[in-house]
């Protein structure tokens, strides 16, 4: 809209996922592992455990090389990447939270200095002083988390910031606290998991045992704590955000289940390590880390996914349109685009005049500014594949564009623009491939439902599609000629006679047994 859209063939979202997915796994280790270093050093010195101390020295090098180089650069990397992919959101977040970022920069500076001094100080500094650097490191790293957490949670639950626009209101938003505790537990868990890696290459089996047991002391309770903390976290997120997770493509639900499962697997593997510490092998340690990475990224993915269609919930859509108009919005709102047209309201449009000859090209440009933040033509969440799967003919594609925001319980912003622009977008989407549906699909009522209705309706008796249809099959089939007359926001799909009849036939088989007709539809109608 405001900024040019970087056209990434395979989908720009994947790049963020890659950078952020790897970064979080190291950055949380950077916090928990810091505390682990000092406390382990203290323990080793108290018990005069030289072997442990020597291992810890090597572990520090591993820690520093991983966090100072990969952790730090990939952290900057997230910032690079979101600036490329969501420049409007980045700009908003920077203007809202500059002082937060700036404070985080100070802590980061201290963090890096402290860890280097801690690393190089192993053989040079008196123990107390050495531990002092370790403490400074940990406190600085933890402060970074405490600051960044405010900004990340703000994106999901800005809360009353939306009305008052005050820094601290946005910062200490509804999910701030659960997220801090949740992430802290992750940090501590990772400290023990990473310890397995460097422990596994130790020769001395007794030392190995001591490290694994000590590491488990960090990991096992933290993993257990993640369960109530996760529950708390989820409960602070408004239920409406999870609606899409319960839609027909419950991506977020799948990832949430995956997160819990992988968490449990991590737990089990960790116990296994505790009981057979002497046999701990590098491959096994890496496996534990990999599973934990999967668990963590699944969690991050849920957070990102339930936020759709927004980058900043209720404020800015993924495609950089503002949710409502406000001073300084630059005209980048759905309402304004509906009135003036996307071709005139958006920056970075090459062909601003729609003619009979340039429909497809203009449609492509509209796709780029409105849809490409989440879709690609042919690859990641490819429209080509989505349309093919649903077998939409060109007329359906065009009709469906009016209902995007209703699909999947709300994962997309509405199409914004004039009718002619919508037709141009449809023309482009249809140019990706033109579907002529196989007539044999018309007679399969279930398939008609899946292809034409299931993105907005669920196959459940209480869905208005079941409750709102006339009990008489003939009347019902006729009423489907004109969907907007049933509910004004429904797309004007043109179902043919066969489709309508078979759909109604199938629908009737789905109604609760013992109620051949529709249940009293007053509730549903009252809702309209």
């Amino acid at each position: 809209m405001n900024y040019p859209v970087w056209d990434v063939l395979f989908g720009s979202g994947l790049l963020i996922a890659l950078v952020a997915g790897l970064h979080v796994f190291v950055s949380h280790f950077a916090v928990g592992g810091g505390l682990f270093l000092v406390l382990t050093e203290r323990k080793a010195r108290r018990t005069n455990d030289l072997a442990l101390l020597n291992w810890l020295k090597a572990h520090t090098r591993f820690f520093a090389l991983l966090t100072v180089v990969f952790g730090a650069v990939s952290g900057v990397g997230i910032w690079f990447t979101i600036g490329l992919i969501s420049p409007s959101a980045t700009s908003d977040l920077i203007h809202i939270f500059v002082w937060g970022w700036a404070i985080e920069w100070v802590t980061f500076f201290i963090e890096i200095s402290a860890v280097l001094l801690y690393l190089y100080g192993w053989d040079k500094l008196p123990p107390k002083l050495h531990e002092w650097y370790g403490w400074i490191y940990f406190l600085a790293a933890f402060s970074s988390l405490v600051v960044i957490n405010g900004i990340i949670t703000f994106m999901l639950t800005p809360g009353s910031w939306i009305d008052v626009h005050k820094f601290w209101i946005g910062f200490f938003n509804p999910t701030y606290l659960p997220s801090v505790f949740f992430r802290t537990a992750i940090c501590l868990a990772l400290a023990g998991i990473y310890a397995l890696i460097t422990a596994s290459v130790q020769k001395d089996p007794d030392l190995k045992t001591r490290i694994v047991r000590w590491g488990a002391l960090w990991t096992v309770p933290s993993l257990l704590a993640l369960v109530p903390l996760g529950w708390w976290y989820i409960h602070e997120i408004p239920a409406s955000l999870f609606l899409s997770a319960r839609g027909p493509m419950p991506t977020a639900t799948h990832f949430a289940s995956l997160a819990w499962i992988l968490l449990a697997v991590t737990f089990a593997l960790m116990l296994l390590a505790v009981f057979t510490p002497r046999r701990l092998h590098l491959v096994f340690a890496l496996l534990v880390a990999l599973v934990a990475l999967g668990a963590m990224d699944s969690f991050e993915f849920v957070r990102e996914d339930v936020r759709k269609p927004f980058v900043i919930e209720n404020y800015l859509y993924d495609n950089s349109l503002y949710a409502s108009s406000m001073p300084g919005d630059g005209g980048f709102t759905v309402d304004n685009l509906n009135n003036t047209g996307v071709l005139h309201a958006a920056n970075w449009i090459n062909q601003r005049n729609l003619t009979a000859g340039n429909q497809v090209e203009v449609g492509h440009e509209i796709f780029r500014v409105e849809c490409q933040s989440c879709h690609t033509p042919n690859a990641y969440r490819g429209i080509h594949q989505l349309i093919e799967q649903r077998q939409w003919d060109p007329a359906s594609v065009s009709a469906m564009l009016t209902g995007l925001s209703l699909m999947h319980n709300g994962v997309m912003p509405p199409f914004a623009g004039t009718d002619a622009e919508r037709d141009a977008l449809a023309a482009y989407l249809n140019s990706l491939q033109t579907i002529t549906p196989d007539p044999s699909t018309f007679t399969n009522g279930k398939l008609v439902f899946t292809n034409q209705c299931s993105m907005c309706h669920q196959n459940q008796p209480d869905d208005p599609l079941f409750s709102g249809l006339d009990p008489n099959p003939q009347v019902a089939a006729d009423s489907l000629k004109d969907l907007p007359s049933l509910f004004p926001l429904m797309p004007a799909l043109k179902l043919n006679q066969t489709q309508r009849t078979s759909l109604v036939q199938w629908l009737n088989t789905q109604r609760p047994a013992g109620k051949p007709g529709a249940p009293p539809s007053s509730a549903a109608q009252g809702g309209n």
């Binding site: 405001n2 900024y3 040019p4 859209v5 970087w6 056209d7 990434v8 063939l9 950078v19 090389l65 100072v68 180089v69 990969f70 730090a72 650069v73 990939s74 900057v76 910032w79 690079f80 600036g83 490329l84 420049p87 409007s88 980045t90 700009s91 908003d92 920077i94 203007h95 809202i96 500059v98 002082w99 970022w101 700036a102 404070i103 920069w105 100070v106 802590t107 500076f109 201290i110 890096i112 200095s113 280097l116 001094l117 190089y120 100080g121 040079k124 400074i136 626009h165 820094f167 601290w168 406000m326 001073p327 300084g328 919005d329 630059g330 980048f332 920056n347 970075w348 090459n350 062909q351």
Partner: protein, 375 residues
């Protein structure tokens, strides 16, 4: 089609006001950029001289010591470069976001690749620092590769920061290729500007050696005298070359912008004057210091003058950007609403952080001569 010459598409400023007056960010940007560029110069120049020393070490045995000595410092200098670079990257987005994001998107892939190149270069430098002695051959090759990568990163940065200030070039580029592979190669200032920065880094790398000579002066006079000479000469030659390259850069600028430094803008002209005279003074001072074998004069005198010259150059760089953007950008475009509830907290943490940092260095013994032995 948008024709070149038509008013370019400049993104609008977002609805959120600046959380402090414009000049606060401008000042922070200038100061932190200056620190970043100092660290970058030391890192890049150090790496370049370490490589030079490594390549010529068969004829000059002393130089393999230089190689080992300097190579050990590079990872820490790179850490400083990155850490100090984050702040100006933040502040440039605060006040020049519309320009910055747009040009990065036009060269999205190279910009994204910076991350990959940087991680590779960084690990490479660590490899060299740890293996320089045991495996000098491999370390030399890796040092060469890592240096090439950071040079490439610098080149990408120069592309971005020149493209950012020439909005008239954007639309045609973008619509010809929206896939993020645009560099700014057609800009006549690109190459001289880049070389100007790189040559400065080499000169500062020479100063790094002079500073090392100062630290080694007492314990290891022979080696110290050698690196004093090696570093000092490098500094002199690089700074002399800088006069030619700087002239080239100046000539490559559009006339009205060039005139900024030649009278049109008093501050820019003053900075330019001080910069040129300072560079001359630095060369002179260095040759005097070398002639008299006066390491303090070389280390403190020349470093001080050079630091002042680099400050002038940083301010000129900023003047130039604002002049480029003058047709589009004006600070009064910003709505300002100072966040008094958090801005003082930042200042407090910032000052506290600097103090803590100094204490950390002091307790480590970095400020005393009884410092722990070098690693």
């Amino acid at each position: 089609m948008i024709h070149p010459g038509v008013i370019p598409t400049i993104p609008a400023i977002d609805p959120n006001p600046l959380p402090a007056p414009y000049w606060v960010f401008k000042l922070l940007l200038l100061v932190t950029f200056y620190l970043h560029i100092l660290a970058m110069n030391l890192m890049l120049g150090g790496a370049a001289l370490a490589l030079l020393a490594r390549l010529t070490s068969s004829r000059h045995p002393m130089r393999s010591r230089i190689f080992l000595d300097v190579a050990k410092k590079i990872p820490t200098l790179l850490a400083a470069t990155i850490t100090l670079g984050i702040a100006p990257l933040l502040f440039v987005q605060v006040i020049y976001g519309q320009y910055f994001y747009t040009s990065t998107i036009l060269m999205a892939w190279p910009w994204f690749l910076v991350l990959v190149l940087l991680i590779a270069a960084y690990y490479g430098f660590y490899f060299v620092a740890h293996n320089g002695k045991r495996r000098p051959g491999a370390a030399g090759v890796v040092l060469f590769l890592s240096l090439a990568l950071v040079l490439l990163i610098g080149f990408i940065y120069t592309n971005n920061f020149t493209l950012m200030q020439t909005p008239a070039r954007w639309a045609a580029r973008y619509f010809a290729d929206p896939s993020g592979w645009n560099l700014n190669l057609a800009d006549p200032t690109l190459i001289p500007r880049y070389l100007h920065f790189i040559t400065a880094a080499v000169a500062v790398g020479g100063l790094l050696l002079v500073l090392l000579a100062l630290a080694r002066w007492k314990h290891d006079p022979e080696y110290a005298a050698y690196i004093f000479r090696f570093g000092g000469k490098t500094f002199e030659y690089a700074t002399m070359a800088q006069f030619l390259i700087g002239l080239w850069f100046l000539i490559s600028l559009p006339r009205d912008l060039r005139m900024l430094f030649m009278g049109d803008n008093p501050i820019a002209t003053a900075m330019f004057g001080v910069g040129v005279l300072g560079s001359l003074a630095a060369i002179f001072l260095m040759s005097e210091a070398l002639r008299r074998q006066n390491i303090r004069m070389g280390a403190f005198g020349v470093t001080g003058v050079t630091a002042a010259v680099i400050l002038c150059m940083s301010i000129m760089r900023d003047n130039l950007r604002d002049a480029y953007l003058k047709p589009y950008f004006h600070p009064s475009q910003f709505a300002v609403k100072t966040q008094w509830a958090v801005f003082p907290l930042f200042l407090g943490i910032f000052i506290g952080g600097v103090i803590l940092w100094l204490v950390m260095l002091r307790r480590y013994g970095l400020f005393t001569s009884t410092r722990p032995t070098e690693e």
